[in-house]
Amino acid sequence: MLVIDNLKAEIEGKKILKGISLQVKEGEVHAIMGPNGSGKSTLAAVLAGREFVEVTEGTVTYMGKDLLEMPAEDRSRAGIFLGFQYPIEIPGVSMVNFMKTAVNEHRKYKGLEPLSASDFLKLMREKKELVEIDSKLANRSVNEGFSGGEKKKNEIFQMAMLEPRLAILDETDSGLDIDALRIVANGVNKLKRPDNSAIIITHYQRLLDYIVPDVVHVLYDGKIVKTAGKELALELEEKGYEWIRKEVDES
């Protein structure tokens, strides 16, 4: 589904990603872990199409297409979803209007008619229940005045509405209390299908108690320095990132 090959990227001339290679197959859940500043969020930004990150080398192929050539909106329509680490507040734009526009853009891309108002509201209701989001939140402006937990739940709600093929969750667990974490993780698990995949970017292991990854990668200084099964996450939790640093520095 997603093939990243020797990806190098920089922000304002500062090299952040220094040659990342990674393959995500249909149905797989990958976790990317690593200390702060290792390049996790930059990787997510490159995949979602943020323009301030400059790709200097390497390729990213998504379902056979050159992902780096696609504008952000096309990536979304083609099934990529980025769950933001810091969701943006947009005063004056209602959640309903936001989601209606997004869903219909996705439908247009697939050659489908826009949803009728009643079908759309029905869809909203279903998905709200699925991710246990307070229905009042949907009547407000996008993320405006939402608590940290509400914002993250709202990301999962949007993900439920857009049904992505590849979800990239950028530190969705940061700043969440245990209840919110459980709700977010449940949402992700409920949305899991055999044909969709996820990349879970996280600093901590605790989210992986709820969302079990198939593969765990450790990103350090812009490179993937270790790849293994889910047991790697537990090892990291126990030992911290220090031993990774040592290993890398020694080699």
């Binding site: 199409g49 980025l82 947009i90 936001f98 997004a102 853009e105």
Partner: protein, 452 residues
């Protein structure tokens, strides 16, 4: 001769040429103001940029032009103007159409609305309701140092008079549609007086339109009295062409525990200058002053607000927002004056602007003068671009860039629109703003009235 004198000279001559005809259709009471007002005007002149409150607005292109004066439009003209109907589908309003500043000759000059409210021609009212007019007319502009206000007092043709008796609540809004239509370039000045007595409550909508492409200059003054515990909402929607200048002066005098809101929505216009003066003249009064301006090409929109906290425990709130495109320029000047005895004052002010190009320009100036010590005041102004992070957030959900920009601008503008209490009107304004932002709404395309 300096240009200041030249310009004033032009209007002094204008006065001499027209005053006889203007006076003939007005009452002696209104005429009694004219001579001293023109004397005052000749001292003050047309404001220049040296005048602090006009620092960012250049009136020259309009005031250095030869306009014809307004003659009372004929019956035919009024019938033609009447064809412009309000198309706010769910808005049920008591409507009045003013043509070139004149009250229609085809209607009754004064008409009674439910609850004993009177609405009609200013000239007519000054005769029939002399006591009511004499109690208020010219009182709330008193002491103003703007030459244009005095020019209006000197030459005002006609306008709308509204009187709302004590305790009367009018559910339907009153809508005044100001139309300008002529074969010649004209300068018109009308004068409105609105008296909302104790415990009464009305909503007024004023719509400004141009119907022919000539060069127009309007200099309008509205005086409002809001009695004790009364509620008054005034909303102005401006949609004129690029060759029109609209200068409005609104003076709202409030008694104790009253509440007044004004909302200036400028969708289109060559040069627009709205000055809104709120005088909180009794304890516990509250006022809200809102404004939204969307400008492009070479348009210029200037909002000047003056809130006068003269009594203790009053609250005022200002929110003005603007989106400027192309070479458009804007100005905001928000003054809060808290008198020495006005303890317990709460006064807030916010002005946010989005510039869509490098050539668009905005000048914003808060001006707080506080002489009381137990006061809560805040002010904030921003001038910036659309938020890149918000733009990306929308795009990352599949929304195309152009559409995402529109949504952000609309959301920005909606913060002002949401203060409109009449729901049908709020919806209508949302639609108009959306059309305007998409570039689909041009001069008089379909604002409150439809081009017949």
């Amino acid at each position: 001769m300096s240009s200041k004198e030249e310009r004033s000279e032009r209007y002094l001559n204008f006065y001499k040429e027209n005053i006889k005809r203007i006076s003939e259709s007005s009452s002696p009471f209104i005429n009694s103001f004219r001579e001293s007002a023109i004397a005052k005007f000749s001292q003050l002149g047309i404001p220049t940029r040296k005048n602090e409150s006009y620092r960012y607005t250049n009136l020259d292109t309009f005031f250095n032009h030869d306009f014809k004066n307004y003659f009372m439009p004929s019956e035919e003209d009024f019938i033609k103007a009447e064809e412009f109907r309000c198309d706010v589908t769910d808005l049920d309003a008591h409507g009045v159409v003013l043509l070139n500043g004149f009250y229609p000759v085809i209607d009754d000059k004064l008409r009674e609305l439910p609850g004993g409210i009177w609405i009609g021609s200013m000239n007519e009212a000054s005769v029939k309701f002399a006591d009511k007019v004499e109690k208020h007319y010219g009182k709330y502009v008193n002491g103003n140092s703007d030459g244009l206000v005095h020019l209006n007092t000197a030459m005002a043709s006609d306008g709308v008079f509204i009187w709302v008796p004590e305790g009367v609540v009018l559910k339907k809004p009153i809508q005044i549609v100001n139309l300008v239509q002529s074969d010649e370039d004209i300068f018109n000045q009308h004068r409105n007086l609105i008296v909302v007595e104790k415990n009464a409550d009305i909503t007024l909508i004023i719509c400004d339109h141009t119907l022919s492409p000539q060069k127009f200059l309007t200099n309008a003054v509205t005086e409002v009295f809001v009695g004790e515990n009364a509620h008054f909402d005034i909303m102005r929607v401006q949609n004129e062409h690029n060759n029109a200048a609209k200068i409005t002066h609104t003076f709202i005098h409030q008694e104790r525990n009253s509440c007044a809101s004004s909302n200036n929505i400028t969708l289109h216009g060559g040069l627009v200058r709205n000055s809104t003066h709120h005088y909180l003249g009794g304890e516990g009064a509250e006022c809200n002053s809102y404004g939204l301006y969307l400008a492009d090409k070479f348009q210029h929109v200037d909002n000047f607000v003056n809130v006068d906290h003269a009594f203790p425990n009053c609250t005022s709130n200002q929110l003005f927002k603007g989106v400027l495109d192309d070479m458009a320029t804007g100005a905001f000047n928000g003054r809060i004056y808290v008198h020495k005895d006005a303890q317990g004052t709460m006064a807030y002010q916010k002005n946010n602007n989005i510039l869509l190009t490098d050539d668009a320009k905005m000048d914003t100036k808060p001006q707080l003068e506080i002489y009381a010590d137990d006061v809560k005041c805040s002010h904030g102004a921003t001038v910036g671009q659309l938020d890149d992070n918000a733009l990306f957030y929308l795009r990352s959900r599949g929304i195309e860039k152009r559409q995402a920009r529109l949504m952000l601008m609309f959301g920005f503008a909606h913060e002002v629109i949401q203060n409109i209490k009449v729901e049908a009107l709020q919806e209508r304004m949302d639609n108009l703003v959306m059309q305007r932002l998409k570039g689909e709404l041009s001069r008089c395309a379909s604002c409150m009235v439809k081009c017949g």
